[in-house]
Symmetry: C2
Subunit: 347 residues, 2 copies
Amino acid sequence: MHRPLLAATAASVLAAPLAASELRDTALDYFAPLPSTLMAPKDNKITPEKIDLGKALFFDPRMSASGVFSCNSCHNLATGGDDNMPVSIGHGWQTGPRNSPTVLNSVFNVAQFWDGRAEDLKAQAKGPVQAGVEMANTPENVVATLNSMPQYVEWFKGAFPDEADPVTFDNFAKAIEAYEVTLTTPAPFDAYLNGNEDALTADQKAGLELFIDNGCVACHSGVNVGGHDYYPFGLIEKPGADVLPEGDVGRFAVTETADDEYVFRASPLRNVELTAPYFHSGVVWGLKEAVQIMSISQLGDKMPDAEVDKIVAFLGSLTGEMPEVVYPVLPPETDTTPRPSGEIIPN
Amino acid sequence: MHRPLLAATAASVLAAPLAASELRDTALDYFAPLPSTLMAPKDNKITPEKIDLGKALFFDPRMSASGVFSCNSCHNLATGGDDNMPVSIGHGWQTGPRNSPTVLNSVFNVAQFWDGRAEDLKAQAKGPVQAGVEMANTPENVVATLNSMPQYVEWFKGAFPDEADPVTFDNFAKAIEAYEVTLTTPAPFDAYLNGNEDALTADQKAGLELFIDNGCVACHSGVNVGGHDYYPFGLIEKPGADVLPEGDVGRFAVTETADDEYVFRASPLRNVELTAPYFHSGVVWGLKEAVQIMSISQLGDKMPDAEVDKIVAFLGSLTGEMPEVVYPVLPPETDTTPRPSGEIIPN
């Protein structure tokens, strides 16, 4: 579903400046604040035991073949839930094809990965661990590693109490999803949507109005200010091949539908201040520059600098409070734990 | 200073089995419990602000050229303060020459690195960050990175309030030392030394007695049960070249004294259960096997299996309570932050 026309509609309806409460009312037509309780993912009951197990797995570098990388390596909770690199460096110093997206608030995305090829977080969690250029592991080796450590076996029993043989790759992914569901970051923008007019500065409100008025909201809306649907990158004007490399056709690789060439999931913009560099190609370091590229490629117009500044100010109101994370103490290896290997095995 | 004769002396004095309190008295001749307050390192006043800054630096992967590695990568506080690999994988997927030692309780070591080439933790902290096969960074780039993030500059001002220009590579190292000083792990063995006879099991006490009686204590004594002095590896019988590679002459490379060939700092044994694989070469995965190798190479005798088991039980009493670590939220990069580079620059 593409809704390019919404941009034009929004722009015409909202041409007149809005009063304070009017702006908030309009914002509530497009956005929603973070919910007050944990989201309930499909087929995965969330329990404290499952969350704790998922946290251990998320931080455990032994889930990679080499013992170097954990989920947290590329989705680092200390740095906005991503790794601040154009594309991640993984197994054998190979680089991934696309910029690592933040794990924060990722439960609110319609699907996972830039092309939405994983329907949810538990499906996503199985990807990097097996990707040859990322963690380069196998489901069998992950399960063998977990079964070799009695503490992990106990934790799986606690997290999946009704299962006879709970240490499985599916449950590994479910536990990680359970943990990731907790990684949400309430921001000033939520307080604003919830009625606190003072939560945004005057510049941030002006930026919000421009964000709606100029039509950015056509693709970046919902709880995650994006992340809810797919759109062509270069809707009006294709950006340069550095920003939109020709070889990466986006969602086309998933759907094999011609309409989906160079279509990507709209970036969720919560904490965007913290997640440079930008775009699936990860080549743009400045948020102002990123907004300007979006303005030209998606809206067909170079936005005045002063407007870009206000939109960047608004985006700053999406920077939320990070969840407090007590670093886990992981179970020690045993004699039967598969040994780490940095060996690069060609596909 | 080598004291191989102590082994023989200890063995003869302690030939008769010891009564419970007698064993503890004897143990107190060789060991000391963890102190009740933080150690005060030389020329580095410890303050809460400095500890907090040091924690941020310890966990910050942007201290490496690539943005992949932090201090915590190879000294992972989730897995016993080390990385569970024979030798660490670093910049460009290169491997280091020696097994990564645990950072836990490292303040109690006489000096840092396997060959003691850094006199203290602040000297050590400057090593890996510059090593081409580890973090591959430069002091200039570290300082530029820190200065590019206003929050870090503030934190340095708070940690070094009397300095006009506190963001320096020296202070970077001092802050990391301040944090590492806090990483101590009180263990059942400390409770035992402090008078709680029930803190060790019968097997652990038997193992402690054997540890003293057989002369292990000649090299592994003090607060850290090792780490306090240098000894030849292969004192009686040289282990195989896999365990003691010929090309690594140990402390000889530091002192250039013939006596120091194949001399290493005795491993501190706190948390040894958690820090496989063993020895500077990191090739031995089992603690029993490691004890057996020590027995033959340092004491000249294959120890009966039942005795090895008891010594391993005793070593288990050195596994301490991990410090609770709240994972830091790090400052975001700015336009002036040097960009990460995974490029491999030949020496």
